[in-house]
Amino acid sequence: MSAHMIDIVNLVKRYQTGTVSFEALKGVDVQIDRGELVSIVGPSGSGKSTMMNIIGCLDIPTSGKYTLDDQDVTKLTPNQLADIRNRKIGFVFQAFNLLPYATAFENVEVPLLFARVGGRKRKQRILDLLDRVGLADKVNNKPTEMSGGEMQRVAIARALANEPEVILADEPTGNLDSSSGGGIVELFHELWREGKTIVVITHDSALAAQTERIIHIRDGLIEKVTHGNQQGRRAAHVA
């Protein structure tokens, strides 16, 4: 087992719109260790969203190699990618992306249904997860009946449903006021201390500072890598 949870080598992503071609990523190398808390920062248009999509197996690279948990994901079929997203990656989005008509319980249930987790076990797991993010009393609330911070907690509970290796958070505090945002960051820190690998994509340098390592992207290339103010159980890796 490699020490790298995420190993990206010379990754290129090119978008073709008619005759116009645009390179969002121009050969990026990123290694993220197991249990690391990393942020990827950059201004809009820098390629960080593309980075997030590829790390999250939502998109496939044009060229280059991406190994997730010792598995080359560039060679997988759509169904295999779906299973990877289901079991190995937990997404936390800026806009929460909860199903609007479903309760907190049902939202957390979705990935468990795709993973075919059986009835009683599933129910217990959902209740545990909602308890874990501090929403034991909002189990039957719909997103419209919750605050932004609560919705993001539901999203985190959903991301944790199948005990993924990696939590991938895209501007997780972007739609939140500072106090709920702080609570979310706190939750990420707890998960990190429990051993989860967490990747936060943001343009907010204050948020990025609260990670171990900050990868700066600009114009589709890695500009620099700096230390954050969090110190993990092991020394921070600065490439």
Binding site: N79, R85, P111, F114
Partner: protein, 412 residues
């Protein structure tokens, strides 16, 4: 995924797009209703037609003796050929394709008297087989002419149902009562059960009187029957039966068996075949219209599923990010389309069944028959709706499943 999950999704979509969903379902509803009604009325008409034809009897040939129109073995044309009752007996013995046969003696304008009721009626002298051939079914507690009546030249008669009502207007069984036929007393042994009859060669059976052929001949000393009625076996065609009778009689009377004019033959099977084809075509036409209506409905369903797809793109993206496979997305869309179609179809079928149920109360059955639904139409509709739903749902479903997660999430 659990079925209830799909079902829940379905009701959520339904409530989001109430009017559009209702109108879409109405398309399927209307299509199904049309097919069922058109088919049912077509079936009703056909059955009415068949019933009416049964009034004449099934696979019936009516044969009149005539005049030869071809020279044959040195004999000139223009000879009158007459049939005797013995000839009918030889047909009964020799013909392979003839199931039943009977001579028919007919006399018009015979005074028939019962009490003060005196009218000129038609009297037919026939064999016992005649009743079965021509579907003259005796009402309960009565009978048709039998062999003993023939052998003993009994003065018994069977009368049509309308005539029975005319003679016995106050009800009371006519059976066992006596009629005076040309002054001779006859005992009524049978009354014909009411039946529909759409064609005839000597008036409607409802007004006739039948007596044994042997009795008839003693009354009027008529040596030749007016015509012969024959019933061919179900496996033979009318033409085959006709040529067999021709050849039997041609041997005896020495005429050309291929002469079409010697014997006048009314082949009722030809009408039956014609009517059957006509009604098959008619019903096919009706069902075709119904299917076209249903296809219009299907296009509506397909359309609304595209709308649903537009609205749900983001949700599909979320689900894909959470691990939904293509097959899940396809199943969700298809099952929704199926449900929509089946609900519409079921309601359409129910509504049509209701119309069919209350239709007889309108009293129009004499003109259009009684509409009928049967198992076949039920199965056909179900299969058709399945195909329609699949056709309507598969394209939106495939498109939904081909969305890239990134595009669906609209992350950039």
């Amino acid at each position: 995924m659990r079925p209830w999950h799909y079902l829940r999704q379905f009701f959520i979509d339904l409530s989001r797009q109430k009017l559009r969903t209702a109108m879409t379902t109405f398309g399927i509803f209307w299509g199904t209703c049309s097919i069922v009604l058109l088919f049912a009325f077509g079936q009703g008409l056909r059955e009415k037609q068949i019933q009416s034809q049964r009034g004449m009897g099934e696979n019936i040939l009516v044969i009149w003796p005539g005049v030869t129109s071809l020279e044959y073995k040195g004999l000139p044309k223009g000879r009158r050929i007459r049939m005797t009752e013995d000839d009918v007996k030889s047909i009964r013995q020799q013909a392979q394709l003839i199931q039943r046969v009977s001579p028919e003696y007919i006399r018009w304008g015979i005074p028939v008297k019962r009490g003060r009721n005196l009218n000129n009626r038609r009297v037919h002298g026939v064999w016992p087989e005649y009743g079965e051939m021509r579907n003259i079914i005796p009402v309960m507690g009565s009978r048709f002419i039998n062999q003993a009546d023939i052998d003993e030249q009994r003065r018994v008669c069977v009368i049509g149902d309308r005539l029975a009502k005319d003679l016995f207007p106050r009800g009371g069984g006519p059976i066992g009562e006596t009629l005076l036929i040309q002054g001779v007393p006859f005992v009524i042994v049978g009354v014909m059960k009411e039946k529909r009859q759409d064609s005839s060669y000597s008036g409607r059976d409802a007004w006739k009187i039948w007596i044994p052929s042997s009795t008839y001949r003693t009354m009027w000393t008529q040596p030749y029957p007016n015509n012969v009625v024959a019933q061919i076996v179900p496996t033979a065609t009318g033409d085959q039966g006709e040529s067999e009778i021709n050849s039997i009689l041609a041997r005896k009377y020495r005429f050309d068996p291929d002469d079409p004019r010697t014997l006048g033959v009314w082949d009722t099977t030809r009408n039956v075949a014609f009517m059957k084809n006509l009604f098959d075509a008619f019903q096919g036409f009706l069902v075709g219209i119904g299917i076209l209506t249903l296809i219009t409905g299907a296009i509506g369903v397909s359309n609304i599923m595209y709308v649903v797809l537009e609205e749900r793109t983001k949700e599909i993206g979320i689900k894909m990010a959470l691990g939904a496979r293509r097959s899940y997305v396809i199943t969700q869309f298809l099952s929704e389309t199926m449900l929509l179609t089946l609900v519409g179809g079921f309601l359409g079928f129910l509504f049509a069944a209701l119309i069919i149920r209350i239709f007889p109360t309108f009293g129009l059955e004499e003109f259009v028959g009684i509409p009928r639904v049967n198992l076949f139409i039920g199965v056909m509709i179900t299969v058709l709706l399945g195909i329609v739903a699949l056709g309507a749902g598969i394209f939106p479903a495939l498109r939904a499943s081909r969305l890239q997660p990134v595009q669906a999430l609209k992350l950039f």
